[in-house]
Symmetry: C2
Subunit: 325 residues, 2 copies
DNA sequence: CTGTTAGCGCATTCAG
DNA sequence: CTGAATGCGCTAACAG
């Protein structure tokens, strides 16, 4: 495999001239340019990008940290990231962490070690204090609200969306309202818990611990949950489900068990996944694709502008009324 | 950001000694080793992996080519790849091509340009002739049957699985059997078409062009298809659906339209996705996770052993009987 | 418009 | 056990 020097020799020019044509610089005489092209063809020359990365100090690659790729929620975000990356010729390095801090740290190391130029963290286990330490090595953007730190973020308002959904359920006559989350101890869960208690209180109702269900992420989790709910002495009549996959699981299981939706149990999902449309589930569109796309744009802007500033970006959401309430 | 030379100075040793402790080599006196650690801490030294990649001629990264990440089928395969990659400390570079040959070619270039050490192609648009050209630059593994080329592959037998499913439907009394695919002109589609015609003929039945439906990949496609089928003059009574998402879309739409499954329309899905279990869809488990995992193992073995040989690996499948037939 | 040269940061022979 | 020296392949000042 020839290098640039041999190529230059073969073309009868200097390495810098070769480099110029390789990088499309102007000010190269046409015949020399052609000679280089000829030589490239003849020697089957291919550039070693690792050398380019070394000398440029950048790789045109950004890392994406997420617990698992095979998931409708994360998939939608990554898709958004990827579409933007494509447009500016950036690569995506994927890190499936399974929420293991050890793996998350390894991904952070990629930024420190200059394997990636920036990092997007879709969901995490590590503390912000831990993550913050790596901000010195390059831009990091989280897909959750983060303030007062050297970290950027894109997010939608969990509090407001919960509030809106709760008020909607209340207006439809529901007084026994519960909700589901994935991890009880995540940042968004704390916000949601607060919104849950405060909103219900302000409406003159009350939230109950027994109506809060965790470990709900996948379709199957919804099915399991339905069985749990129908065996409760004092079940909620409505559920705010943070994820359409789970809402779909609940819906399908409900049909099997003869539970009527919305009469026996009302549901509001989240993410506006295709399946919620098909099943007629009322949901909140939080524009996951756009969250991913915007996360990339923020990173890209920070890289391009070499700025150390931080961006905080809130995206809107929309309640989509269908027939599960 | 200090480099290895400054670090060596600070530690009072040579760069080679630093390099040795950095790479965990033996034969370094303990006090010098400690001195290096101290200096690393003090200078906040971090290694530039691009230099390592350059000098080693490898990046510990493999590229993954797929049309889109946000998809149950591809997601499952990528997950399998990622799990294996994690175990041996390899990174994954993701390339969402949207089946655009231009993007696929860009991904192939990553192998040529030494950005990745190997490539896994989950699904493609480019011809094998085009892809084959890049085999000289590093190992390439496809997730489909490929023979007589310098390319490795993992796959399950589309022909045999179609055959098995058709015989099963036939044994249940179906005589008007159709099937769905995503892209009509993909390699697997050709195999399936052959299996479809030959198997039905051997059973004394016949296939019909009108019972073959393409552009079926997502959930919504299944819903659209159901409407198409119920408006047909001469609809099939059973459908072999290559993808549980589509089968799920069909099933859910059928419930809405009052179409009885399996009585009005029988279904056999593919991929054994969670949703097929929930909806009671009879399906074929083709072990997508394992296909991804094995694809990585093959690539990894070829990289480790520096061999130019090629691996062809067939994985088994299993018909999972549920209640949609 | 072009060539010379000095790095980019690290691994690794080869002598000690 | 250790250090000096060489090279990985390329870019970009700098001097023509």
């Amino acid at each position: 495999m020839p290098n640039i020097k041999q190529l230059a020799e073969a073309a009868g020019v200097s390495v810098s001239t070769v480099s110029r044509v390789l990088n499309g610089h102007p000010y190269v005489r046409e015949d020399k340019r052609q000679a280089v092209y000829k030589a490239i063809e003849r020697l089957q020359y291919t550039r070693n990008m690792n050398a380019v990365h070394l000398v440029k100090g950048a790789t045109q690659t950004i890392g994406v940290i997420l617990p698992q790729i095979n998931n409708a929620y994360f998939g939608k975000v990554v898709e958004g990231i990827g579409q933007q990356a494509l447009q500016v010729n950036y690569q995506l390095m994927l890190c499936q962490t399974g929420y293991r801090t050890h793996e998350e740290r390894k991904a952070l190391h990629m930024l420190r070690d200059k394997i990636v130029d920036g990092l997007i963290i879709i969901s995490r286990s590590l503390s912000l204090n831990q993550i913050e330490k790596y901000a010195a090595y390059g831009p990091i953007t989280l897909c959750e609200e983060v303030r007062g730190r050297p970290l950027s973020c894109v997010y939608f308002d969990h509090y407001a969306s919960f509030q809106k959904a709760l008020i909607y359920l209340w207006s439809k006559g529901h007084r026994r309202i519960g909700y589901t989350v994935n991890r009880r101890n995540s940042a968004s869960s704390a916000t949601r818990h607060k919104a849950y208690l405060e909103t219900l209180a302000s409406l003159g109702g009350e939230g109950r611990e027994a109506w809060i269900f965790d470990n709900c992420l996948h379709l199957e989790d919804g099915a399991v949950l339905l069985n749990k709910i129908i065996s409760m002495d004092d079940p909620p009549t409505a559920l705010l489900v943070t994820g359409d996959q789970v809402a779909a699981g609940l819906t399908i299981a409900a049909q099997k068990q003869g539970v009527q939706i919305p009469d026996d149990l009302a549901l509001i999902g989240l993410d506006n996944q295709p399946i919620s449309k098909l099943l007629g589930i009322t949901t909140i569109d939080n524009r996951l694709n756009e969250i991913g796309a915007e996360a990339f744009r923020i990173i890209y802007r920070h890289i391009s502008e070499q700025t150390d500033s931080t961006t905080i970006q809130e995206l809107g959401f929309k309640l989509i009324e269908r027939s599960s309430v």
